[in-house]
């Protein structure tokens, strides 16, 4: 018996994860810092995001670079938002809105895409993970560190809000 415990037990996974983490940690930090506004909190968010990614690395294996980048950005935002919200609750601030993160400048004819960008972070994430990355709600629950039922509810709520936003923008039947 070997006392041998690995977070990533495949040497190839270890190597590719290490390379990926070192390539994108700065970008993840930038994204997280836009939300939490402090270096230490941003590092914590990146660290937690990378742990979550390592635990679910099988869902990323073999994905193209743009998808990996997008996934890591989403993970960093998710954990930064959690840290932000935890601190907000602790300090019992009132009147603060949800963290907005990066402000996106865009030109697009796709009104629904505009609505997605205006969604609160947690809803935008679930929409992107489900409808862009193609993850199941069970996988999204693992990625976001929530229960599957919460993931399902979050997805339902996101679609409901999205629909309401979109209908305000433009009359359209889904």
């Amino acid at each position: 018996m070997l006392i041998y415990v690995l977070i990533l037990d495949d040497p190839e996974d270890q190597e590719s994860f290490d390379k990926m983490a070192r390539t994108y940690k700065g970008l993840m930090f930038t994204v997280a810092r836009n939300i939490v506004k402090q270096d230490q909190d941003a590092e914590d968010a990146v660290q937690k995001a990378l742990w979550a990614v390592a635990r679910n690395y099988d869902t990323l294996r073999g994905k193209p670079e743009p998808v990996v980048r997008s996934y890591l950005v989403t993970a960093a935002e998710n954990h930064a938002k959690n840290i932000y919200n935890t601190k907000k609750r602790r300090r019992e601030r009132s009147g603060d809105s949800e963290p907005t993160g990066q402000v996106y400048h865009y030109v697009t004819d796709n009104k629904l895409a505009e609505c997605i960008l205006q969604l609160p972070l947690e809803y935008r994430e679930v929409i992107l993970l489900k409808h862009f990355h193609g993850y199941t709600l069970k996988e999204i629950a693992k990625i976001q560190g929530i229960s599957q039922s919460k993931s399902e509810k979050r997805h339902r709520d996101a679609k409901r809000i999205l629909k309401a936003m979109y209908e305000t923008e433009e009359a359209c039947e889904f």
Binding site: V5, I7, E15, V31, S70, Y104, L112, A113
Partner: protein, 224 residues
């Protein structure tokens, strides 16, 4: 186009916009703290403990042979100097402890042990039962493990320690000699190894905590 198709198209467009608004990774320069770099290194490390505990001497010898690939001449043999009842063989990058104690003292009944003190944030995660002992893994919220392993059947067993980049110190646990292994490169978990008072039980604790915490855990071992 139905809503699901619209959503898929819109999500791809939203993702494109998000990515185009972000800087290139190479432009994102931040000097991460040493703590962060340590945590990152831990995610990709190969072994979280330098100790490999072999069930059978023959298997241990074969493993050692494979590990040293002919380069591991025995540098020294240190009979009984580290743990009572054990002979230490020092290879270039490995240390092998061979149990030569009095196996007739082996207890008829198996005894079980537990840690009565854990660092903050750690909880029992998994327990692996063995014929002559048990491995209990505790984890914190970052999934960092602490491993507590003990075995009572020591006859015909060896202990292998990957001693490359390890600092080895003799310390005391409840008045007993114990071996503390601390990594120089921070890529392996510090580990403490010691024997029970009657020399019949071998204890091993590994975890990414300071040596002081390891010793405190070792001193908190109690029979169930």
């Amino acid at each position: 186009m139905n809503f699901e198709d619209q959503l898929r198209e819109a999500a791809a467009e939203a993702n494109r916009i998000i990515m185009s608004n972000l800087p290139e990774p190479s432009e994102c320069v931040h000097e991460f703290s040493p703590k962060f770099e340590r945590q990152l290194a831990r995610m990709t490390r190969r072994a979280e403990t330098p100790v490999r505990y072999c069930l059978q001497r023959a298997a241990c010898a074969a493993l050692l042979l494979g590990l040293i690939l002919g380069a591991g001449v025995v540098v020294s043999t240190d009979a009984g100097a580290r743990f009572r009842g054990w002979v230490k063989e020092q290879y270039e990058t490995w240390t092998r402890y061979i149990f030569e104690g009095d196996s007739s003292k082996a207890p008829v009944e198996r005894k079980d042990y537990q840690l009565s003190w854990l660092p903050e944030g750690y909880e029992e995660s998994t327990v692996r039962e063995e014929l002559a002992g048990r491995m209990i893994v505790y984890k914190n919220e970052d999934d960092l493990p602490i491993r507590f392993h003990y075995t009572t059947n020591l006859e015909n067993r060896d202990l292998l320690v990957d001693s490359e980049n390890l600092a080895e110190t003799m310390i005391q646990v409840c008045g007993r000699d114990a071996q503390l292994y601390e990594p120089i490169d921070d890529r392996t978990a510090p580990t403490i190894v010691w024997m029970s008072e009657d020399d019949n039980v071998l204890f091993i604790i590994s975890g990414y905590i300071e040596a002081e915490g390891l010793v405190k855990m070792a001193e908190s071992v109690e029979q169930i």
